[in-house]
Subunit: 287 residues, 2 copies
């Protein structure tokens, strides 16, 4: 976990600051017993049940990803590789007319998502969020049959798993699965995104800077008008993430935007703008 | 020309602020009569003869590109597609032990470069700068025979020509030639750069943000440890250029650096850092 994720300066800092609220044997369909936490996001506006100490844990990345979705009217949003559902639920929590489909192939993680949606704390939006256990890399008819029809979504969001040498060393099976990136991950996932979005629909993703070329190549002629925003922990530092949006069938040129800077100089807290994104008080709009 | 180039806040602002110093029929090997200017760079430390009103005119881009070269000891530098020689001469002017080869296929532009080197104002470094009329896209033996042997340079710099709809409308033949980008320009030029650099040698280039994926793809396995720095006119604005460096045979990950911001908020002048780069007082070093 990069250092900037450790400084979330927030009521909802699940991975680092908060003690687990609930350590329990999960009621799951697997043989595994898994300790878990219930973490508050958006300053308590929604809650997420996540496995503790194994599996991918959502935090800042998911909240920034969710901030990329901006729509005033009713809209349909697909969260590809949703994990426990943090990003998709953050969209549903902020946008009162959004209907969100959480797409995740791991039955363990979809179970977490379903249980989160059953929490009383999430009743405000739970009826607008559905969970689909499906593999994002499916193609054509198999994809549609799995519940992902073409031209159906106004927004597709994704925080695709990544791996590197450090991740591969982990013995954590759940995390390894979440972080196991195939060689063509962006190509595969963005192909699916391009298919299931309506014309004019928006793809949004968060990724590491070193994936920038792979992402642009995968966008290809499927989605255009790419906007890339580097995320810097502090002014002058290297980017730790990039935010990327693109529009289906747009032919506009790529735009490299000014960075988002997480922390003001010398400050431990988030900058006000980033704090707004992290807490569901604002969208980060396209230009 | 982007707006930020119009605000060079500098003694050397050839394209916009300065009246032509010398309008003359050029003594050239072509049939064309060409008005020209002699422009001061690095606050008068070197001068450049450039065609006026046609052809690519060098300015800020060339100075920023030159700032990417950092070497304390004697080093060999190739400027690919050197045009009138602004970037290469800026390197020779700042680095007293650099030997620079200006590589340019247009005989009109190499003539300008040779005449600039003959100016008394450039006597300080002229003996360390050579001009080679050659096509950067040559391959293998033809490239070596043209004067570009393999594994010969510590640094290769390039400000490759680009075109777009606006450029294609221009009836200016010289400019059209300078800006005529083949489909595989970066692939072709970076292939040459990779061949003629010593192992560990540094590629440096300046380009438009929309070329970022093409550049990274062209770097491929030839050069690694890519560092990309967006250039923003002002804080919060979109990038207008990217600075890219990479090292031959490096396997390090790509780094997306904090942007260079040309102008402080509300200021017409360059920021002190950018002013230093523009005037040959500092190098922009790799991390």
């Amino acid at each position: 976990m990069p250092a900037w994720k450790r400084n979330c300066g927030n009521d909802a800092c699940p991975a680092d600051k908060r003690a687990p609220v609930r350590d329990a044997v999960a009621e799951m369909t697997t043989m595994t017993t898994t300790a878990e936490t219930v973490d508050a996001f958006h300053r308590g506006k929604f809650h997420l049940i996540q496995p503790l100490g194994q599996g991918h844990r959502s935090g800042m990345d998911a909240m920034l990803l969710a901030a990329l979705v901006s729509c005033e009217r009713p809209c349909r949003v697909a969260d590809l590789g949703a994990g426990a559902g943090a990003a998709g639920m953050a969209v549903a929590s902020r946008l009162e007319e959004a209907e969100v489909l959480l797409v995740e192939r791991s039955p363990i993680m979809t179970d977490f998502a379903r249980r989160s949606l059953a929490l009383p704390e999430n009743a405000r939006f739970a009826a607008r969020v559905a969970v689909l256990e499906a593999d994002v890399s499916l193609n054509g008819k198999a994809r549609a049959a799995a519940g992902l029809p073409d031209d159906a979504f106004d927004h597709v969001i994704m925080n695709p798993p990544f791996n590197d040498a450090a991740d591969r060393r982990t013995p954590d099976r759940l995390k390894a699965e979440a972080h196991a990136m195939s060689d063509n991950l962006f190509e595969t996932w963005i192909k699916t995104a391009g298919a299931i979005m309506k014309p004019g629909g928006q793809l949004s993703l968060i990724a590491r800077p070193e994936s920038i070329a792979e992402i642009i190549a995968a966008c290809g002629r499927r989605v255009g008008g790419i906007e890339i925003t580097p995320i810097l922990p502090r002014a002058g530092e290297n980017a730790v993430r990039i935010l990327v949006t693109a529009i289906k069938q747009s032919r506009k040129r790529l735009v490299l935007r000014a960075p988002l800077i997480m922390h003001a100089e010398g400050a431990h807290r988030f900058s006000p703008q980033v704090d707004d994104f992290n807490n569901g008080r604002a969208a980060y709009r396209r230009r």
